[in-house]
Amino acid sequence: MQLRTLRGGHRQRVGSLAWNNHVLTTGGMDGRIINNDVRIRSHIVETYSGHEQEVCGLKWSASGSQLASGGNDNLLYIWDRATASSNSTTQWLHRLEDHTSAVKALAWCPFQGNLLATGGGSGDRCIKFWNTHTGACLNSIDTGSQVCSLLWNKNERELLSSHGFTQNQLTLWKYPSMVKMAELTGHTSRVLFMAQVIDSFLHFVEHKSD
């Protein structure tokens, strides 16, 4: 059953979405990020302006206090919910330029509140770790391939990364040593998406065949 349609916020396609309780945050190809309160008629409650190209990654921290956004402009922004304003566009908390390609993969650490892992596209290939309180880059690892998604293990201090061009691998990393614990190769196409479900872990591999 369709409940409602949110319109008027974006001018181009909406490629990323993130929920924070009753607020749905939308990221567009127009570079805009909008907080929509889905309970009220005038749903646009805050706007974050900074990205100059498509927003392709969007994740709220577990506490709902910080939003991470990644764009095709190679930029990573950290936004503070507490300083978001309805009557003017909100200033970012951090504007991070270290990635050299699109930033799609974002994952907030489940055991350390201010820790964020991000992954870069095929021109960057790096996984980077950030203290989102200070904006400091804590570590950077060149994975050798486009980073499609990142997922922290909820039970162990481990991070799983999925990749595209060129190796299409899945890699399990020990954190914080970033020692490779396992690597799964042989996929013929990039691993676009992963989810951890209860005790089992699922991943989805997009394959193409002619």
């Binding site: 998406f193 089992s200 193409k208």
Partner: protein, 117 residues
């Protein structure tokens, strides 16, 4: 014809097993790195956007249903995201709009997505 499909592999954190449990045919997946076309909800239902249609796969019973097919001029679907309650879902569109759906009344209408071992 280009064919897309997904592998679903279980227990990767435990042993990183290479055995894929199920294969999901997804012939119309938009191949775009910048979009977010899959999301796993807290009710254990996977949402997948293929072209202008959003499908739901219930992992607890393996059933597949169609949530919505948007009009051609509005699509394709460019993002899906479950609300924390696992019941409501947001669907982002190529036309810049976002639809909100309640999936509890969703009727199982057709199965386009085929699972095999």
């Amino acid at each position: 014809m280009v064919c897309h499909y997904f592998e679903i592999c279980a227990n990767l954190f435990v042993g990183l097993h290479q055995t894929s449990e199920r294969t999901l045919d997804a012939p119309d997946l938009v191949d775009d790195y910048y979009l977010n076309l899959l999301d796993w909800g807290s009710a254990n239902v996977l949402a997948i956007a293929l072209g202008s249609t959003v499908y739901l796969w219930d992992a607890t019973n393996g059933s597949t249903s169609e949530l919505v097919t948007v009009e051609d001029e509005d699509g394709p679907v460019t993002s899906v995201s479950w609300a924390p309650d696992g019941r409501h879902i947001a669907v982002g569109l190529n036309n810049s709009e976002v639809q909100l759906w309640d999936t509890t009344s969703n009727r199982q209408v057709c199965i386009y997505i085929i699972f095999g071992l």
